[in-house]
């Protein structure tokens, strides 16, 4: 069963076609990798899915499984940025985008706004139902932090944490809204090989524990080949290959995109 269908997606900036007629589908509960050389348009695809950009052409369909077993198809292009999260889709950023001057716990709680029952303005009042909601929010934040192995830093400022921890906090903030699909934009950027390996294990355990589908863009091939079940390779905004890690490694088009074409008479 597919959770995300990207169909004939195209977007251009000025004369540059950043994404050109791109289609791919992501299976539910899988780890799907989107790779490509620098400037291939990966982050642009992500920005279209999370609605920061509106594509010129094409469809992005997100399939939401409801609690009573129904499957709702959402045309994501119809929604605004702040509505996407309530459908069950959230993301992290290439450069960590935390609320720096807020505590770690508060950073996670922002991810719960889509779940607020009290309503936005009422959440500022002092009724008991609001208080209860806040307490559960803090509790959830603590649970997630414990899962990520970040216990004890709840009340510290996000900005004071080391880079690797900030990336985990961002991951936690994405997780707290109980999404069905998390989009990770270069989660391993700036990490050493050891950290990258443990990140791979963490991403897998997030998928297994929380039952989410993961779509990631990544430059670190060891991570991509290690955890992704299916990979889509794009170059200059176009899909050049799709398949399992083994298939991708053998694909000549992919090798050419990354390493350049072999000269025939060399």
């Amino acid at each position: 069963m597919n959770i995300l269908r990207v169909e004939n997606l195209s977007i251009s900036f000025g004369g540059l076609k950043a994404v050109d007629d791109l289609s791919f589908t992501v299976k539910e509960n899988s780890i799907y990798g989107l790779i490509g050389p620098n400037g291939a348009g990966k982050t642009t695809v992500f920005n279209c899915i999370s609605r920061f950009y509106t594509p010129d052409k094409g469809k992005i369909v997100f399939v939401q499984s409801t609690e009573n077993g129904l499957r709702l198809e959402h045309q994501l292009t119809k929604y605004k940025v702040h509505e996407v999260i309530s459908k069950g889709l959230t993301r992290t950023f290439q450069n960590v985008e935390l609320f720096k001057h807020m505590t770690v716990e508060e950073n996670l709680i922002t991810g719960l706004h889509s779940k607020l029952k009290a309503g936005f303005v009422r959440s500022g009042f002092f009724t008991s139902s609001v208080k209860k909601e806040e307490d559960t929010a803090r509790e959830k934040a603590r649970d997630i932090l414990a899962f990520l192995g970040l216990k004890g830093i709840e009340k510290q400022y996000a900005a004071s944490q080391p880079y690797g921890i900030q990336k985990l906090i961002e991951l936690g903030r994405a997780l707290i809204s109980k999404p069905k699909l998390i989009i990770l934009d270069e989660p391993a950027a700036g990490m050493n090989p050891k950290e990258t390996a443990s990140l791979g294990a963490l991403i897998r355990s997030i998928r297994d524990t929380y039952g989410v589908t993961i779509l990631l863009v990544e430059h670190d091939m060891s991570l991509v080949m290690d955890i992704c079940e299916k990979i889509c390779v794009i170059n200059f905004g176009k899909k050049i290959a799709e398949g399992t890690p083994v298939e991708i490694q053998r694909n000549t088009a992919v090798q050419e995109a990354y390493l350049g074409k072999e000269e025939q008479n060399a």
């Binding site: 999370s50 702040h82 509505e83 001057h101 807020m102 709680i109 806040e134 903030r173």
Partner: protein, 290 residues
């Protein structure tokens, strides 16, 4: 000693009005990083509304309430009409818009309400309390406690509630806030409404001292800016302490040193404080990792 305390009490009274006006400034600044230069003009306009309501022979509290209700509407309209279309504009452009608002609101006020000066009653008119020779007006007690209460409520909302978290998140990173499902447009709308209400309260309370006219808020507005800078734009406690300090210092310097030089001396003191603590008394310094 009596005279000293008398000056301090009077300082707290005017200081809390600076503080109320400053809280409105800080609120908008904290949600959108914009300094609202028109805060004083907005307060003036709401005070005129209070006056017009009072002229209908209704009790004082009805006029007060009328001004507050008008401010809700006023803040909403200003955000919708002037600030929201410029949402994507730079911080500087937005501040220039608020400068333009000074002229628009001032112009509309003088054409609607005229350029005359009107007197306005005090909120509490009970007889004065005499504590060992220091005379305290019940009105002063009312103003000071109202200011402290508003500060406490704002502080609580911003620091402890989900609403506060969404307001702070919007201020720090609008795009990410939106992605987290925070309705940032509502956050902006709400902060302008609250700021307008705070301004209206400050305006109505200061009206007995300054009288109501189109220029009534000039000095208060300037001092509220200084209160906010002195206390630090980053907190709600800071501007209140800053407001109190300016009010008290103004009075003491005026009485003991020189009435003509009091403003100059007070500002020199403030500059010295800012040299020692550039982020304001309560401003936090975040060490950025590089």
């Amino acid at each position: 000693m009596d005279i000293f305390f008398q000056n301090v009490v009077a300082g707290f009274e005017t200081g809390s009005l600076y503080a109320l006006a400053a809280l409105g400034l800080v609120l908008i600044f904290r949600t959108s990083d914009v300094v609202n230069f028109a805060q004083g003009e907005m307060a003036m306009f709401s005070s005129f509304v209070a006056l017009k309501v009072l002229q209908q022979n209704v009790p004082y509290y009805a006029a007060f309430l009328g001004a507050v209700l008008f401010a809700v509407f006023f803040g909403f309209i200003i955000e919708r009409l002037f600030m929201r279309p410029a949402m994507k504009a730079s911080q500087v452009s937005k501040m220039i818009i608020t400068l333009g608002l000074i002229m628009i609101i001032g112009g509309v006020a003088s054409s609607v309400f005229g350029i005359d000066t009107y007197s306005f009653p005090k909120a509490v008119t009970a007889s004065n309390i005499n504590i060992r020779g220091v005379i305290i007006q019940p009105n002063a007690i009312f103003i000071i406690s109202l200011t402290l209460l508003i500060m406490a409520v704002l502080f609580y909302i911003m620091q402890k509630t989900m609403l506060g978290i969404s307001i702070r998140a919007t201020a720090q990173n609008e795009n990410t806030a939106r992605l987290m499902g925070i309705p940032v447009k509502k956050v902006y709308s709400l902060s302008w409404i609250l700021a307008a209400v705070l301004g209206a309260i400050a305006g109505v309370l200061i009206a007995p001292t300054t009288d109501i006219s189109t220029t009534m808020m000039m000095e208060v507005h300037l001092k509220s800016f200084i209160a906010a800078v002195l206390g630090g734009f980053g907190s709600f406690v800071g501007p209140v302490v800053g407001g109190f300090m300016i009010g008290v210092l103004d009075n003491l310097v005026g009485y003991y040193i020189s009435l003509t030089w009091k403003t100059v001396i007070v500002y020199i003191l403030l500059i010295i404080i800012l040299i020692v603590k550039p982020t304001g008394l309560f401003g936090k310094v975040y060490r950025k990792k590089v």
